[in-house]
Amino acid sequence: MKTFIIIPCYNEAEKLANVINSVKEYGQVVVVNDGSIDASEQIANDQGAIVLSHLINRGQGAALETGNRYALKNGADIVVHFDSDGQHKALEIPGLIKPILDNKTDIVLGSRFLKGDKTPWFKKYFILKPAIKFQNLITGIKLTDAHNGFRALSKTALEKIRITQDGMAHASEIIEQIAQNKLRYKELPVTIVYHEFGQGVASGLRILRDLLFGKLNK
């Protein structure tokens, strides 16, 4: 089984080397450098990762899709999406891809709420919980987390899911496409390490806007 670990990266020079080293043993690391202006690209190259470079910054969704296309073209059986800022734990990758290896599901989504989480309360009750409710309502898929960037996709899922939302709204778009393509999905508990506030209220509203307007241009 060929596993690709896709790390979208925008100016994460400080943490990138550690992140790449931590995931190396679980698969082929593909860093999508999304127009970084710091040393990210050089660091990724030095760590022996495959580096795909966006000439200009296009957003996390765009970077993940570039990684997905590359993986599919190069015979990936499983793709893992992993953040470049060190908020995910590499140790949890084998657990995340196991249901796909056992052919029990097409896509595994990490959830920070399936076990004791350390989400800041404001973010949890004023941003994430409403977002989860909204997501469940419009997609008809019952999930316990929204906008968790840690996920694993099988080849089947990879072939069917096309991320068109360049920004952060891609996370909701993926859920939508799971429903549309009737993919088998599963949620597993993962740990999220909070370094700073992450996405705030403003970016939550931006995601909402992208989702609503994104429908109009199809």
């Binding site: 495959i50 570039t66 241009n217």
Partner: protein, 119 residues
């Protein structure tokens, strides 16, 4: 007619716009439907400025107090519509830019790979 100078200025402006529109239409920059749409809008502007009472009839018909109010309402609606169209266009262009950037990133990787293989 108290606002004759304004009528003349607006008329000159509309003539200028119509000239430009016609030129763009001849150069195939504008589609026929777009050309007709814009022409109608500017003819309406002329009518409103030379025969302001027409807006009053229409306003009365639609249940709005004054002709001027109707003109303001219609302008705001039109502006919103144009902004909306612009939003869609920009969004589409953003997506196209992403496609190009992605293609370049993937091709760049491929060409490096073949170069390495040849060495």
């Amino acid at each position: 007619m108290p606002y004759l100078p304004l009528q003349i200025i607006v008329t000159l402006f509309v003539i200028l716009v119509v000239f430009r529109l016609t030129k763009k239409y001849k150069d195939s920059i504008l589609k026929t439907s777009e050309f007709i749409g814009w022409m109608i809008i500017w003819v309406i502007v002329l009518v409103v400025f030379w025969l302001p009472q027409t807006t009053s009839y229409l306003a009365f018909f639609l249940g709005i107090g004054r002709g001027v109010d109707l003109a303001v309402y219609v302008s705001i609606l039109l502006l919103f519509y144009l902004i909306f169209r612009l939003y869609l266009k920009i969004d589409k262009q953003q997506k196209e830019i992403t496609k190009i950037v992605r293609q370049l990133a993937l091709e760049d990787k491929e060409s490096k790979k073949t170069m390495n293989n040849e060495l």
